[in-house]
Each structure stands twice: as structure tokens, then as C-alpha cells.
């Protein structure tokens, strides 16, 4: 470039000669430059600008999506934390309910055990009483049976052994008791 400038300063016809050699047509070149500028303006006005706007909108949408995603993620984390908290509470409540249920079951079991023991004691007492009554009844029955046998045997033996003297003596005893009544 410097060489070209120096060359221009030294000899302007030489530049014209070079331009002619390379086929440069100055009016044609200026017209092309103007046309190019117009095309650039139109492209900038009607093509690039809407495209850039669309791109900007897309960028905003993407940014909004990112923000929304972050919000959703935060909400999800919050929901997850809430879920965990609720789960922990539910777990604690369930544990408490289970413990209370265990305690109630233990109390109920103890009560039922006491009732069962009481009923068993009553049954044993009744059985013991019934056994005693049965024992007494059997003893009384045995006593009656033995007594009947003794009385029967005594009557039979006495009937055989009593003599006329014995009969007279017994009659006299009764007569004496009659005399004592007088």
C-alpha cells in the first residue's frame, strides 16, 4: 500500500494506467459501491434486524426457561424437603402410634391376664369347694352305709342273743323308769 501511495504521489498517470490495465471503470465502480451500500442498508433494515429480534426473543425465552427451570428445581427441592419433613413427621407419628398401641396392648394383655388369673382362681376355689362338698357327702354316705350295716348287724345279733332273763331285765328297767316318773 505504501508503495502504491508513493507511486501515486510521484506519478498520477501511472495509477490511471494501472487501473486501466486491471479493467477498473470508475463510474461503474462507484455505482457498484452505492448499490452495495443500498443492499447493505436494506439487508440491515429488513433482514438482519428481525432476525436479531427473533434471536433476542429466543435468548430471552431461553433465559426465562432457565429461570423457570431454576424456579421449578427450587420448588422441587422445596417440595422434596417438605415431603421429607412430612414423611419424618408421619414416621414420628406412626412410631408414636405404634408405641401407644404397644402400650395399650400391653395394658390390655395385663388386664386380660389379671382377669384370666381371677377367673382361674375362682374356678379353682369352686372346684375345691365342690371337692370338699363331695368329700363330705361321700363321708356322710359312707357313715350312713356303715351305720346301717352296724345297726342291722346289731339287731340281728341282739335278736339271737337276747334270753328271757334279758327280756325280763329290760322290762323291769322300763317299769323302774315309770316309777321314777311318779
Amino acid at each position: 500500500m505504501n508503495a502504491l501511495i508513493l507511486l501515486t504521489q510521484n506519478d498520477p498517470g501511472q495509477i490511471q494506467q494501472i487501473a486501466t490495465t486491471f479493467g477498473v471503470d470508475w463510474p461503474h465502480l462507484v455505482a457498484q459501491i452505492i448499490s452495495f451500500c443500498i443492499v447493505c442498508f436494506l439487508l440491515h433494515r429488513f433482514a438482519y434486524k428481525p432476525v436479531l429480534q427473533v434471536l433476542a426473543q429466543r435468548r430471552e425465552l431461553i433465559a426465562q426457561d432457565v429461570v423457570d427451570r431454576e424456579k421449578i428445581k427450587a420448588e422441587l427441592e422445596k417440595a422434596e424437603a417438605e415431603r421429607r419433613r412430612i414423611m419424618l413427621q408421619a414416621d414420628a407419628k406412626a412410631t408414636k402410634v405404634i408405641e401407644e398401641t404397644h402400650a395399650a396392648a400391653a395394658r390390655l394383655l395385663e388386664q386380660e391376664m389379671q382377669k384370666a388369673v381371677s377367673v382361674a382362681e375362682q374356678v379353682i376355689a369352686k372346684a375345691r369347694e365342690a371337692a370338699l362338698l363331695e368329700h363330705d357327702r361321700m363321708l356322710a354316705e359312707l357313715k350312713r352305709e356303715i351305720g346301717a350295716m352296724v345297726v342291722e348287724a346289731t339287731a340281728s345279733i341282739t335278736r339271737k342273743m337276747l334270753t328271757s332273763d334279758d327280756q325280763r331285765r329290760m322290762a323291769e328297767e322300763t317299769i323302774k323308769s315309770l316309777g321314777r316318773a311318779a
Binding site: 325280763r168 323291769e172 311318779a182
Partner: protein, 136 residues
């Protein structure tokens, strides 16, 4: 003639007293009373006769002793029993002697509601009662 129970009792008692002579009912008077009441046929005469019979039965029981023995009693024992009854009850007592082998031994004297029981059977009954046996 009587209609109510009290009147019947009073009338029968009056007739009974008329029959008693020396604290003893005279059989002739009693028969006469019965015949008289039967022939009169007044109202309530059967009730009066029933009450009169009851009074005679009580009187007879008061003057009758029933003596049961397992074996026949000797005469001397019978006499001693009669004497003893007269000493106790005063009135002449009519003694009815009976034999009851179920008594096994001894004698049983019953006059009215008094009982003198010296029989083996009664002692055996006492023994049975001690064993809880109600009757032999």
C-alpha cells in the same frame, strides 16, 4: 240345736260332762246320749256326735295304756306295770298288752302323749340317727 262350731263344741262338751261319773266316762250314759241325739235328729246332730266322739276318744286315750313288748310279758310284770301306771296317773288305767317282735327286746308303754320306751328297737333307732340314718 247348735249351728256354729262353737255351739257344737259347747253342746258336745255338755253331753260329755254328763257322761263322766267319778272322773270316768260311764259307758251306759254315753250310749244313752248317742241314742238320744240320733232319735232327736235336730239340726247339727251329726256334728255334735262327731265332737262327742272326739272327746270320748281323748278320754279313752287318757285312760288307756298301750304296752308293747317283744315277747309275752309274765303276769307279775303286767301287774307291776298296771300298779306303776296307777301311781303315776292316778285314775284306773286300762292296759292293753300286745306283742311286737319288731321291738327285738324290752317294752314300750304309751299313754296319751307320754311314752316310756325301753326297747332295743328305739336304742337302735337312736344309734342309726347318730349315723345320720333317718329310719331303720
Amino acid at each position: 240345736m247348735p249351728a256354729t262350731t262353737s255351739q257344737v263344741r259347747r253342746a258336745a262338751k255338755r253331753l260329755y260332762r254328763w257322761c263322766v261319773v267319778n272322773e270316768k266316762v260311764e259307758e251306759g250314759r254315753a250310749r244313752a246320749v248317742v241314742e238320744r241325739v240320733l232319735t232327736s235328729r235336730r239340726r247339727g246332730y251329726l256334728s255334735v256326735l262327731g265332737e262327742f266322739k272326739r272327746l270320748l276318744t281323748i278320754d279313752s286315750a287318757r285312760h288307756t295304756a298301750k304296752i308293747d313288748s317283744a315277747v309275752p310279758l309274765q303276769i307279775d310284770l303286767q301287774t307291776r306295770i298296771k300298779e306303776g301306771l296307777s301311781r303315776v296317773y292316778g285314775d284306773p288305767i286300762h292296759a292293753q298288752f300286745a306283742q311286737n317282735p319288731d321291738l327285738i327286746g324290752g317294752i314300750r308303754i304309751q299313754i296319751s302323749s307320754d311314752v316310756y320306751d325301753g326297747t332295743v328297737k328305739s336304742r337302735l333307732q337312736a344309734l342309726a340317727a347318730s349315723f345320720g340314718i333317718r329310719s331303720t
